[in-house]
């Protein structure tokens, strides 16, 4: 965490609306060190995926607009690259793996060819070298008998193996930062644990930095070094895993933690955070979490809290942070 590999400054995704623009992702900034795994957590629709698509500059609709100061990666500012240069960054510097491995692999292409295609494109390898490399990558991600599996089609793989294959496709290009968008959500718990172990293992062996998107705090707690909590397109709290999990200061982080089944005592009902996340078109004045927050005061309703550093390595956007030890 001493040298930042990826530094994001004030990255926003703007959706033009009637009259006024809506910030789907609002001035996101964080940095990612070499070999660091950052967990990005939050409810559905909190802008986690959108934030990562923005990093890749692959927004789902051409109407969405990207704004921000800079995204520094490998000596480039990604926001100022032209399309061709950005294409060279994708895969080579920034890899991405997705939630649903079945639909993110080309159904008509052999697994090996899909891995080899990226290797040939980014490393200029020959067909034969790329195939050998593909087999090696498949072995690294734990596919048994990679020599024969390399010629299989995706439909011949099981769900967990497809996820491994997708990781292999991304790894083939040898990226420095891997964005994993809920990589384990579609998998059952045992396979989930295997995939997480694989990701940790790859971090150790390749020094890969990762952004792990998840709404499962258990997954994040197992794997990440630091945690960023997002709500309604904004970063609420960002700090080391220990700080955020053990001593959350933002009421939303605390609420999320309290909702986790492991945090419950012998109560019958699961804890919930009352209310719904705000609609994009109807963001509340002041703090976006304000209407659902038990701590909200007058200042919360009027002023949007900005992200500030409360202690070294811990950032928080809240007017009324929880005191250490207190849990809602």
């Amino acid at each position: 965490m001493n040298t930042a590999l990826l530094r994001v400054e004030d990255l926003s995704v703007i959706a033009p609306g009637d009259g006024r623009d809506i910030a789907v992702v609002d001035r996101l900034s964080f940095s990612l060190g070499e070999g660091e795994i950052l967990g990005l957590v939050g409810e559905s629709g909190s802008g986690k995926t959108m934030a990562c698509r923005a990093l890749m500059r692959l927004l789902p609709s051409p109407r969405l607009r990207l704004e921000g100061t800079a995204v520094h990666l490998a000596g480039h500012n990604l926001l100022q690259l032209d399309d061709a240069a950005m294409r060279r960054m994708r895969g080579r510097e920034l890899g991405m793996i997705f939630q649903n491995p079945s639909s993110h692999l080309d159904p008509l292409m052999r697994i090996g060819e899909q891995i080899a295609e990226g290797i040939r494109l980014h490393q200029g390898a020959s067909r034969r070298e790329a195939r050998a490399e593909a087999i090696e990558v498949l072995r690294q991600v734990g596919i048994p008998d990679p020599q024969s599996r390399v010629d299989n089609y995706p439909h011949e793989f099981s769900g967990g193996m497809r996820q491994r294959a997708m990781i292999a496709v991304a790894l083939g290009c040898n990226p420095r930062v891997l964005i994993a968008d809920e990589p384990t959500t579609a998998l059952d718990v045992t396979v989930q644990a295997q995939i997480l172990r694989l990701l940790l293992d790859l971090r150790d062996r390749r020094g890969l930095s990762m952004i792990l998107i998840s709404h499962d705090l258990g997954v994040v707690a197992q794997t990440c070094d630091s945690i960023a909590v997002m709500y309604a397109g904004r970063l609420c709290e960002h700090g080391s895993k220990a700080q955020v999990l053990a001593r959350p200061q933002h009421p939303y982080s605390a609420g999320l933690l309290a909702c986790h089944p492991a945090a419950q005592s012998s109560q019958r009902l699961m804890n919930t955070i009352g209310g719904q996340p705000p609609l994009l078109g109807a963001m509340p004045e002041g703090c976006r979490f304000g209407p659902r927050c038990a701590q909200a005061s007058a200042v919360c309703r009027e002023h949007l809290p900005e992200l500030r550093e409360t202690e070294p390595g811990h950032r928080l956007a809240c007017h009324t942070p929880l005191l250490v030890g207190e849990c809602s």
């Binding site: 890749m56 692959l58 294409r87 060279r88 960054m89 994708r90 895969g91 080579r92 890899g95 991405m96 997705f98 649903n100 639909s103 993110h104 692999l105 080309d106 159904p107 008509l108 292409m109 295609e117 990226g118 494109l121 980014h122 997708m166 496709v169 991304a170 290009c173």
Partner: protein, 285 residues
């Protein structure tokens, strides 16, 4: 020994299981390949020269020497039907390939790029479709002059629209698909994504349509020749032969009937092939 005799019927049953589209596939394949073979071996199979006239053997009814009879110039109909297969298969093949290539490229690019280019292409397709197919073809052929090459050009200019629409609709769906996004996230260029990943996935329905389109092209070719704009006499071509025979339809039915039957069987072969391929491919996806 006893083992083999027991397992043999089972193997045969499995091998010749004609469910899930195999029956039409094999029948269609057999018919089309059969005609292909006849066309290929025409010089050796045909009993007579298809162009050789014989004043003494005019309008001879089918008999042992001339199983399909002879026409008003004394030419052997059987030989002419066999030689005609060469021209007609060629028409069906080339008449499908050019519209397929043209339509697929235009449709794929139009669907992938979208925006104004897409609108432009769609309007162009609407314009072409607004004319009756045959009228437009005849107009183009009338301008280009009669002949096979102008038939191919007219076919490509008119036929591409169906392929373009078909492939465009597939590409529109596929370009939003997850694996297209995954390909983008690997830094692939648009060309690589479109032609390397989206096209192979979009081609299923076009390939099936190709086969049934071959029927239409074949009938079109015959129709155009019948109208005197396609293949010119005395070349042996089924449509032309039907046209030539129609004035004798009451006195010498065999002149029209046998080339007509040839068109029907080949067209049926292509239809069956299309059905079979559709069902087999449908199984896979």
């Amino acid at each position: 020994m006893s083992d083999a005799s027991l397992s043999l019927p089972v193997r045969w049953r499995l091998r010749w299981n004609l469910g899930d589209g195999r029956l039409p596939l094999y029948c269609g394949l057999a018919i089309v390949l059969g005609w292909g073979l006849l066309a290929l071996l025409a010089p050796w199979i045909a009993p007579f020269d298809p162009l050789q006239q014989n004043g003494e053997l005019r309008l001879v009814a089918p008999n042992l020497a001339h199983p399909f009879g002879t026409d008003n110039f004394g030419r052997d109909i059987l030989s002419r039907v066999i030689w005609g297969a060469r021209i007609d298969l060629q028409m069906a093949l080339i008449g499908v390939i050019f519209p397929f290539l043209l339509g697929t490229c235009i449709g794929a690019i139009s669907g992938y790029v979208g925006g104004r280019l897409d609108t432009l292409c769609m309007r162009l397709i609407d314009i072409v479709l607004a004319f009756p197919f045959l009228v437009l073809m005849l107009a183009i052929m009338a301008i280009l002059g009669p002949g096979l090459s102008s038939f191919y050009i007219a076919m490509a200019l008119v036929g591409w629209v169906s392929y373009a629409r078909l492939i465009r609709s597939q590409i529109l769906v596929l370009k939003e698909s997850d694996f297209a996004l995954a390909a983008k996230s690997l830094g692939f260029s648009h060309r690589r994504i479109l032609f390397g990943h989206l096209m192979p996935n979009a081609l299923f329905s076009s390939v099936v349509f190709c086969m049934s389109d071959a029927v239409l092209v074949l009938l079109n070719g015959a129709a155009v020749s019948y109208l005197g704009l396609g293949v010119q006499p005395p070349t042996a071509e089924w449509g032309t032969m039907v046209a030539e025979g129609q004035s004798f339809i009451t006195s010498a039915w065999w002149i029209c009937t046998f080339p007509g039957l040839a068109v029907v069987t080949l067209a049926m072969g292509f239809s069956l092939l299309a059905d079979g391929v559709a069902e087999r491919l449908g199984d896979r996806s």
